[in-house]
Amino acid sequence: MSERGERICERLRGHGVEYVTWLPDSETRFLHQAMLEDPGLEMIRVCSEGEALSIVAGLHVGGKRATTLIENNGLFDSGNALRWLSDSRLPLVLLVGYISYRYMTPGPRGRMWSDDYWPGVRDLTEPFIDAFEIPHYLIDSDDDVDKIDQAYAEAERTSRPAIALITSADGYLAGT
């Protein structure tokens, strides 16, 4: 099992998280495997990312701490739920897989897909989240796990959501 996955689970539990609303993706496979092994986290499988955001909100207002494990493309699909969550001023930290981060390179207008995969195509993950004025934290190495604490601190300080963008820790390729 991934050590980074275990460490992220430990941090989440440290912040009182009991539930994870989850729609699996290849980028965060290492993490959902760790979560499924963690007896302190209850995984709720959902059919869409908008559901994942809304269930987490209901849990939070009801007094239970929860987070998501969803992918960035699904976040695009749930813009209205994200807007509502932010406008409700709920201090949630959401975990979002940064699909194919490793196949992109920084460019003048943000991250660009490499020419081997999608020449000339810009990734919209960070610009999309920025449009909601939601802070985001990249978790791309073992050292980055500490940023989850920063995300919680910022969410509490502002009474608004924060997002931890998670990249693969095991290099798993989709469908393999």
Binding site: V46, S54, G58, W84, D87
Partner: protein, 183 residues
């Protein structure tokens, strides 16, 4: 067919400490709903927010007031909820075959689909329908006293009910959060 204002009054009279979650168009006639334990969700996501509340507050019934057009935006939630099967969740769907707020525009495929059939196919075992107010009142009373989840479809007349809620989203979120905090 049930007048929406009568249905909302029936919900208010039947409830005390239950949580009521609604999507926007289903709550025209706001003044007939409980003053507390109320929350408006993003378009289509009443059932999902209700599921979260039901899990967090297992000793309290959670009533979701949904619209048919709204539920069509989030049909997958029927599958998710059936999978979790929270016994304290009551999903009321006000069916009038319309997108009410933009001026009573007919739903796609209206008259050819059944949300109750969707719910049964998704795995809900308690799926009830009410066409008259008395039937709705008795079904709601049963749902409040029996384990769920219950899917209760209500055939409502179009166009009834008054204005939309005056309270802000932040205001109702904070009020509900406070109301649910342990004493």
């Amino acid at each position: 067919m049930i007048q929406r204002s009568d249905l909302l009054r029936a919900v208010r009279e039947a409830t005390s400490s239950e949580i009521v979650v609604s999507v926007m168009s289903a709550v025209k006639g706001w003044d007939r709903l409980p003053e507390h334990f109320f929350w408006c969700t993003a378009m289509g996501y009443g059932s999902s927010v209700g599921l979260g509340l039901a899990l967090a507050q297992p000793d309290r019934k959670v009533i979701v007031l949904d619209g048919d057009g709204s539920l069509l935006m989030n049909l997958g939630s029927l599958v998710t909820i059936a999978g979790v099967a929270p016994p304290n969740l009551i999903h009321v769907v006000l069916e009038n075959g319309l997108y009410e707020l933009p001026g009573a525009v007919e739903l796609p495929g209206e008259g050819r689909f059944s949300l109750s059939a969707f719910a049964r196919a998704a795995g809900w075992t308690r799926v009830w329908q009410a066409r008259e107010l008395g039937e709705f009142e008795s079904r709601l009373a049963a749902a409040l006293n029996e384990p769920g989840p219950v899917f209760l479809s209500a055939e409502v007349a179009p166009g009834s009910g008054e204005g939309l809620p005056k309270m802000t989203l932040v205001g109702m979120t904070r009020e509900l959060t406070r109301a649910l905090e342990p004493e």
